[in-house]
Symmetry: C2
Amino acid sequence: MDNVEALPALESRIAALVAQYAGIPDGMAVPRSCSSVMDAVASQGVTSSEGGKRLRARLALAAFDALRPKPDGDDEAWRGHRAAAADLACAIEVFQTAALVHDDIIDDSDLRRGKPSAHRALAAALGDDPQADHVGRGLGIMLGDLLATASVAIAHDAAAALPKTESIMRTFLRMHREVEIGQVLDLAVEEAPLDRPEALASSSLGVFRWKTASYTTIAPIELGLLAAGAKTAKAQAIAASIGTPLGLAFQLADDLIDVIGSSASTGKPVGGDIREGKRTVLLADALAGAGEADRAELIRMFEAPERDADDVARAITLFKSTGAIDRSRGRIATLWRTAASALDEAAGMLGLSPASRDLLLGACECFLPKDLRGC
Amino acid sequence: MDNVEALPALESRIAALVAQYAGIPDGMAVPRSCSSVMDAVASQGVTSSEGGKRLRARLALAAFDALRPKPDGDDEAWRGHRAAAADLACAIEVFQTAALVHDDIIDDSDLRRGKPSAHRALAAALGDDPQADHVGRGLGIMLGDLLATASVAIAHDAAAALPKTESIMRTFLRMHREVEIGQVLDLAVEEAPLDRPEALASSSLGVFRWKTASYTTIAPIELGLLAAGAKTAKAQAIAASIGTPLGLAFQLADDLIDVIGSSASTGKPVGGDIREGKRTVLLADALAGAGEADRAELIRMFEAPERDADDVARAITLFKSTGAIDRSRGRIATLWRTAASALDEAAGMLGLSPASRDLLLGACECFLPKDLRGC
């Protein structure tokens, strides 16, 4: 295997792992009359797993490869560890899919990555059943549970073939827990009042640590380093120092691109967060930077039950005129600089070669478009 | 610790473990504006965990104690293993709570163990928020996820202190997966047509293996034996041989008691399954045993969107007159005899003393009222 998988190799490994770990276990059978529904759930598991950018898996593998580069000549032990690290990296992606399946139920979302969300697809598979929406949602909750369990089982089997078996499992389970807490906090932020924008901005950033940085950047770096044999405390400290600012910057960039669009399509219409009335850092910054009339208008708009296309356009205008968009750009550039210098420090602590340092840096850069990194 | 915990000791250990593993991790903090919602979720986790009969934990501990009875005098190694086995047993109970929290959302249930279901309690905690039902359901999905993760983390830490660490984790994760598949199958059975009652009965019994026996009887016996050091294949074979018939009998008895009531209150009104229109083995047996007119009446009743108190009373009458209730009694007694003779055989294979055999038998007997065991 080459250093940092080609995307198709990761993609097909994820599909194979989901089919193996989230379907009917080998050698067991389900009652025939129920098998078509179970088949639909298992195959939806594979479908829902498709098409991510695999940034998280690639970051984990970059961390492994940076610390344990491919040796010259054939090395069976290295190959075994590298294959297990790749499965561990895939387990992070499977966990993300599990989280997204539940997230789409919580948010009542119809679409995910341009395709029907899992619970909607499962409802459609039930045909003209009058209870289809209800049963589809139930099957979606169970599919999320199955994928979450599968992610732990994949990680467990991978960890068993790696050094630091126990630390890897603890880190993986802590990642699960932090994201679940993050989702709770994300729902809580939506209940936050709009009259204290500075508090809203700091709450939102605080929530990013849990709901995004946890599994997007911190755990991938930590798991990759542990798989490569790093000491537990060192892996944890390094992952937090790079992953926290990088993960926050990634979420801020995601929210910003939702408003200003990007050259590459994100598969989402511009302004989706505004239409949903989401409490974002951008909104908080706009409220903080607005004059009295603009602030009142924004509050009225975001407290209304719905927002139409005109509202979205007006909100974007206000996000620009109040300086909120520039402030987000500034926040992202600062966080990126913090992450990059933490990476330099980590490279020294781990004794990485310049090539290894660049490999890890490259994987981190993928989380942010070049113009937002302040380059 | 004495052999087989007193219920209060298990109860307080479960509460402590849920607080430790499903709340904010030590040394971390969440944004202050979100902390009240997170506190409500964490404390609902403890509340939802309260008040079970702990049959599963006690069966797991009986299996441990049967194979590794308390030695004479103080034995530190035994005490350490026994404490870890107790935590492992508690992890099964925490997993059950996780499954029930999601189950209540899927079924739109208002009550659980006589108290508001988790998602309803969380909605109520949000006060007069117009989105309270929606957000409460979202928080409930996340609480179920948090408890499921907590159960794995508790099991992981317990397994690390026990022999057969890896087998214990594989068994625990297989239990998760089987129950999740079982919930999918349970939703699928509800879609089954009523015109082939023998097929419906056999499907329902097939689903019981997944949705009930998996975590109620099979996994507890297997985990208890593994914790006590039994060989992996032997523990698995013995757990399946006793746990499968016992678990099926337990679910049949649960469904039967829902119709005929019991001397001990189950906290549920009689006929709840009929009112919900559930496809049970009792219904299948009634359809199979009914004459043409009674069968048409039952089909009409169970295909209607709702059933009132008169329908419930009439269905119970038909369940009796068609022999369905007697057939369920017969099924339960046969399954119990199968389980009891599997237990005798297992006692021989494991070389259990008569006292150990009786201990395990007693824990199995608790799953069925005496009159249903055919004694």
